[in-house]
Symmetry: C2
Subunit: 284 residues, 2 copies
């Protein structure tokens, strides 16, 4: 049984996980650890964590699990920081947006992937960041993808699964590679496209936004996501993201050709199948 855990990084995801566990009464004690003392103080005040320490050995004292909830580029220094204080019994897990790179970093720091390290990624979020945006129901009904290695402990996988299910999430298991290809398409690509749209507007006609309707708002909302997190996602899943941008460029070039050629029938067909696919997949 897990009754004490340490959450490293009390941003949106770490704090929402903590709040969810508290609401579901799944954990006795949640300890916070973060670079920003002010965030930890806020998290304690908001009831997201029970206590915090700026000293990692104190923060990890007596815990059965540590969850890393920071942008992926900070994983190497964080794993190096916790390594001396982690016994083989403590389960390590994370919520990093990319998974192959997390496995690589862990192998680099620990020599090989620890049997108790269960890489994980909840497919949920919002464009607000920070502990103030934390939401106990953020993961309710959402998927969490675990990407264990062949040698990962079944017990550790089970414990991590139980916590996520306990706060209402659905747990799926796949390889880190499959995760990165999938998310590269459904999450990283749309974010890149939205960031590129804002970049284009900024450099061509910023005043145009006075006339932006709902479509533009929907589209660009995700461009309000955290810049450091998205920088790290790009750095850590660059192969998959490049592949999907290149694939998308072909679709866009094809559409441009249809517009320039005023190809009425092909335009209508493309729009109708996009609409029917979208309507079929997603109901809201």
């Amino acid at each position: 049984m897990i009754d004490k855990i340490c959450i490293i990084g009390v941003g949106l995801i770490g704090s929402s996980f903590a709040l969810g566990l508290k609401k579901a009464n799944k954990i006795k004690t949640i300890i916070g650890f973060d670079e920003q003392k002010s965030s930890l103080e806020k998290a304690k005040k908001l009831g997201v964590i029970d206590d915090f320490s700026l000293d990692i050995s104190q923060a990890l004292s007596g815990v059965q699990m540590v969850l890393i909830a920071t942008p992926v580029n900070s994983f190497k220094p964080i794993l190096e920081l916790i390594k001396p204080h982690i016994s083989a019994e403590i389960i390590i897990t994370d919520v990093g947006s990319t998974k192959s790179s997390v496995v690589e970093i862990a192998e680099m720091v620990f020599g090989k992937m620890p049997a108790n390290f269960v890489p994980a990624h909840p497919i949920a979020g919002k464009e607000k960041s920070g502990v103030e945006a934390a939401d106990a129901n953020l993961f309710k009904g959402k998927s969490v993808i675990l990407t264990p290695q062949p040698a990962t402990s079944k017990n550790a996988i089970g414990q991590v699964t139980q916590l996520w299910q306990g706060i209402g999430a659905k747990v799926d298991i796949m390889t880190a590679e499959k995760h990165d290809a999938l998310l590269g398409m459904t999450s990283h690509l749309p974010h890149i496209l939205a960031f590129a749209l804002m970049d284009y507007l900024i450099h061509s006609n910023p005043d145009a936004c006075d006339y932006a309707a709902g479509g533009f708002k929907d589209f660009s909302r995700i461009a309000s996501s955290d810049a450091v997190m998205w920088r790290d996602i790009c750095l850590n899943n660059s192969t998959q993201i490049s592949k999907h941008i290149t694939g998308y460029q072909r679709s866009l070039a094809n559409l441009l050709e249809l517009v320039e050629g005023k190809n009425s029938a092909a335009l209508e067909e493309l729009f109708a199948s996009a609409k029917s696919a979208r309507d079929g997949w997603l109901q809201d």
Copy 2:
């Protein structure tokens, strides 16, 4: 005073305009005209219109205004159809998504732009279409752009302005060319990008959508818009849309280069300025 109008096309926009007028008690009688008898019957049943006729001379009998609310490609046959039944006193207006092409079509059909024709475009909508989706508040607080010509009657502009303001919209006046450039960027481009994303997904990995999070839903929602309307927008604003797609392609190619080069600083800077521009412009 306008006390009887005819609305040609009882889709989302025409029906929402009618409902808004009814709610605000601005018009005594609203007559519907549409290709689809079933839509007219539904509109009458839902209280969107007072009556309808499938005969255009009857539909226009005694009206002081006719509003055309159909996709832009149907404007030529519709203007030809109404021309014999329109006296110089009847105000013609529309809600077409492109404006230069509407002016061109009207000049073609009438020889020159009628002084009582006030081209208009409400910047509002949703991805649902049809009379069932009609909403009396759809235009509340939204902009409506009028693009009168130098010779357009001041009285006609005033009457059209009053109706839109009466249902809560803000009226702006600009040239048809400026409208098409502006909307090409803030509306047409994001829609094209969303359609291209769906097209890419359909052809590469349709199953991926099981793992699509909020960002993807926001982004692709606008790809559920009406295919015929968007076909017509592409055909009628192809120059501006091509220009904006080409500009966007440059922004995307630049971002791809940063991802492939793992240019950490430039990625973070681009994402941060996109986020700050987006946050500054739009609050939700």
